[in-house]
């Protein structure tokens, strides 16, 4: 088996994840949280389990939108209510009602009210930050390795971002401004993974034997670093899973996005970045021979 010879399938596999994600993004966008839409978010705990319907009844009682989002957790003893921006009186009334009717615990609640941010500006700034990161990485990799490695690494990062954002749309993960930071973190992690493999290719190219084809060389390089690639991503996954399962609710969607990105990053480093570099090299040498 030669991973590089099979690269067509790896590209197709990536597209199979990315394309549905893009379709989902185009048709139903993303699940924007109150950071983007503005609104109030109330996190509250109860002394005994309550139901979604009971909370909704209280909301309707308070003349609040019945389509407010209610998320139960902690064995139905905790809830997160997301609704339109409440006035101070509305907030106080709702909290009182929840305490009196459903036994909400006064000290274990959090309240967050956010004015809508200008989504366009946030996304534009994030894109700008990414472009800056890409440019800097391209320069560094160009100096330490070569330009085509840099380009392949950046395409791999872009792949991971598309996968993460697309899957976030498909799974309807809540997007807040922390999610934007998650995407930037994924970029930083993904390049880390890719460089390890590129480093090995660079080393093996220097010691290349006669008759060894480039795809074999890349394949060997990937296989040599495979244990490391798997082990590293495993340790990060251990940590992320622990945070997702046992950690706080407020950063869960942030962590899930990171998990998707990290797995995608490990995949793209092995199955996209190196094959892409091979293709760049191949196309260039073909161009050189036809000239």
């Amino acid at each position: 088996m030669n991973l590089i010879k099979l690269r067509k399938y790896w590209y197709i596999l990536s597209l199979l994840v990315i394309v549905p994600g893009l379709i989902s993004l185009g048709t139903r966008h993303m699940n924007y949280g109150i950071d983007f839409t503005g609104g109030s978010q109330l996190q509250i705990q109860f002394s005994q389990p309550v139901t979604d319907a009971e909370i909704r009844a209280v909301l309707v009682d308070q003349n609040l939108p019945s389509d407010s989002e209610i998320q139960m957790s902690g064995g139905n003893k905790a809830t997160l209510i997301r609704t339109r921006a409440l006035t101070d009186t509305e907030d106080a009334n709702l909290t009182n009602a929840l305490q009196q009717k459903l036994g909400a615990v006064p000290s274990s609640q959090s309240y967050e009210k956010v004015e809508p941010v200008i989504t366009g500006a946030l996304i534009r700034d994030a894109a700008l930050a990414l472009l800056i990161a890409f440019a800097l990485m391209l320069v560094y990799i160009g100096i330490r390795f070569e330009f085509w490695f840099g380009l392949a690494a950046i395409i791999a990062i872009f792949h991971d971002i598309l996968v993460t954002v697309g899957l976030a749309s498909i799974f309807w993960l809540q997007i807040d401004s922390a999610s934007v930071a998650a995407v930037l973190t994924i970029a930083a992690y993904s390049v880390h993974d890719t460089i390890v493999i590129f480093d090995r290719i660079r080393e093996n190219v220097k010691q290349r034997k006669k008759g060894e084809s480039l795809d074999e060389l890349i394949h060997h390089s990937i296989m040599q670093t495979l244990a490391r690639s798997i082990n590293t991503v495993m340790t990060v996954i251990f940590c992320l899973l622990a945070l997702i399962i046992f950690g706080g609710v407020t950063i869960r969607s942030f962590m899930i996005m990171l998990l998707i990105g990290v797995i995608s990053g490990a995949y793209s480093s092995i199955f996209n970045a190196s094959p892409l570099w091979f293709d760049f090299k191949r196309l260039r040498s073909e161009a050189a021979t036809t000239r």
């Binding site: 990799i141 480093d199 080393e203």
Partner: protein
């Protein structure tokens, strides 16, 4: 023992730093060199050695570990070789050393190199008794190693609690409860734009008001050009905070015809009190020198007329002037239900009016119990996640896994130190970033150990494997960490100007984590791993994470060789 001699040669050619060799070992190296293609060359580059291989075995080569494994390595029998030898050592005593030589002689270069791993006699099949004489543990290095381990253990045992309780003081709103308010400033009037001076004045004003609230600690910082974030850890009354901070508190004295005669700028002091005769709360005002003069004039001119006192264009009281007041004292009365209300206005008046209009962008209030719960959950997640990483490293990499775990503990301690030193606020995101950074920090260790294993599989001695492995891995670690740093720095730049993301803490932790993991990898991990190798406490490559299966596959020829010995 030819193998040992070869190993030493290899070392000398490869490394500049001094590697202690025990005298016992030197004595044994009288055995003549076996004829073999220079192992030193193999030390320099596995690929070369594989191309020079006297007996290539292509099928085995792939299965074992891809390209890096030279066919020689097949004969290099790390694990069971020493079992075989240990047995021979046990039966024939001192001649055991000679039998080792026979093994390498019979199998050329590979076995000789394997001796680097095999000389330890520390395999499972080798009880301590017979090795006592020739085990050649470097007690000096082993001692240093033991001291390091003990020191770390002592720090963990004795410093963990104080560190934790100190860190507890640096918990963010999300973990200890409290109120966080983010305001956006806009001009009060078109001719008064929001300048940095205005923002600084706003910050000062907020500080005065917050102090008036009676909070024990607060953090007020400007974000970007026109935003300000106020954090009140442990504060429970968001409504009170919103009311106190969001009010402009523009005080005006107006005559009956609407002319503004005095403003809050003319005020020296405001104080809430209970009027002794009416028993109602009121605010007593004292003007400064200029204000007193104006007030005296204004009251003299307006005897018998009303002077309205307005706060943010809301009429508080509208008393009739009975006589000129030269003392510079006035009272706002009649409008307050409780002393608390009067106190609040006095507080606002003392702090002065806001220089800009403020709009509340974000109001986050976390109840103390919820904060505690989030903290407990994060800590539990941390313990489980980190525990899994530590166990994984231990079981997968064995002896170096212990080094990795020690490195991670040191990494965690330094990180805690950095947090304490720079008073980094511990937020949910910050803790998450720390836990993730540990996962990433461990990567430096993984890179080194994987490389070490490769070199061992290629048939190098433990020491030259350590040197070559570390050298190769270091370059990789440097290159990928620089790129991660680039990403993390851009992330910091992005979050720094955006309070809503709430996670500059995440970016900072990530940056410190990446830089620190690089540092611990090239200092601590290197030192301890070096001591482990040079102390010769653990020499069997199997304890460096080589798989038993491979070791067994590698072992066959050597075992046979052992049987053929004279």
């Amino acid at each position: 023992m030819a193998g040992k001699k070869q190993r030493r040669n290899t070392n000398r050619q490869q490394q500049k730093q001094k590697m202690p060799v025990s005298p016992q070992q030197e004595q044994k190296q009288a055995t003549p060199d076996s004829p073999q293609p220079e192992p030193a060359a193999a030390g320099a580059a596995n690929q070369q050695s594989s191309s020079k291989a006297p007996r290539p075995r292509p099928p085995v080569r792939r299965i074992l570990s891809g390209r890096a494994v030279s066919p020689d390595a097949v004969e290099a029998a790390p694990g069971p070789v020493d079992q075989a030898r240990a047995v021979s050592g046990a039966t024939s005593g001192a001649t055991g050393a000679g039998s080792g030589g026979a093994v390498s002689g019979g199998h050329g270069a590979g076995a000789a190199r394997a001796a680097g791993g095999g000389t330890g006699f520390s395999g499972p099949g080798a009880p301590n008794r017979p090795q006592a004489k020739r085990l050649a543990i470097n007690w000096a290095d082993a001692g240093i190693l033991a001291v390091i381990v003990l020191v770390i253990a002592a720090i963990v045992v004795f410093a963990a609690k104080p560190i934790a309780s100190e860190l507890q003081k640096q918990l963010g709103i999300d973990l200890q409860g409290g109120v966080s308010l983010t305001y956006k400033a806009s001009p009060l009037s078109p001719d008064a734009p929001v300048t940095s001076d205005a923002m600084n004045a706003l910050q000062n004003n907020f500080e005065k008001r917050v102090n008036g609230l009676g909070v024990t600690e607060s953090d007020i910082r400007l974000i970007g050009g026109n935003q300000i974030q106020v954090e009140l850890p442990g504060f429970k009354d968001p409504d009170q905070a919103v009311k106190t901070l969001g009010t402009i508190a523009k005080l005006e004295f107006k005559t009956a015809d609407g002319t503004v005669v005095l403003t809050g700028a003319d005020l020296k002091k405001a104080q809430a009190q209970i009027n002794t005769s009416t028993n109602e709360p009121e605010v007593a005002l004292t003007f400064n020198a200029a204000g007193t003069k104006i007030f005296a004039q204004v009251t003299a001119v307006n005897v018998g007329k009303q002077i309205g006192i307005y706060l943010d264009d809301k009429l508080l009281t509208n008393p009739v002037v009975k006589e000129a007041i030269p003392s510079g004292n006035a009272v706002i009365s009649g409008g307050y239900k409780t002393l608390q209300d009067a106190q609040n206005d006095a507080l606002l008046l003392n702090a002065g009016a806001l220089p800009v209009q403020v709009q509340l962008l974000e109001n986050t209030t976390v109840g103390p119990t919820l904060g505690k719960e989030e903290l407990d959950r994060s800590l539990m997640a941390g313990v489980i996640g980190l525990g899994l990483v530590l166990l994984f490293m231990l079981f997968y990499y064995r002896a170096p896994g212990i080094v990795a775990d020690l490195s991670l503990i040191v990494y965690g301690l330094i990180m805690a130190g950095v947090y304490l030193l720079f008073h980094v606020t511990l937020t949910l995101e910050g803790i998450a970033a720390f836990i993730i950074s540990v996962g990433m920090a461990v990567d430096a260790n993984i890179l080194i150990y994987e490389r070490l294993k490769e070199e061992l599989r290629a048939g190098k001695t433990l020491r030259s494997s350590f040197d070559a492995g570390f050298r190769h891995a270091f370059r990789t670690i440097l290159d990928c960490n620089v790129n991660t740093l680039i990403g993390a720095c851009v992330l910091l730049y992005f979050t720094y100007t955006r309070p809503q993301t709430g996670i500059p803490g995440f970016a900072v932790t990530l940056i410190i984590g990446v830089a620190l993991s690089l540092f611990t990898a090239i200092t601590f991990t290197r030192l301890v791993l070096h001591l482990l190798v040079s102390s010769r406490l653990v020499l069997n490559p199997r304890w460096y994470g080589l798989r038993i299966k491979i070791a067994a596959a590698l072992a066959k020829p050597a075992v046979l060789g052992g049987g053929e010995r004279p």
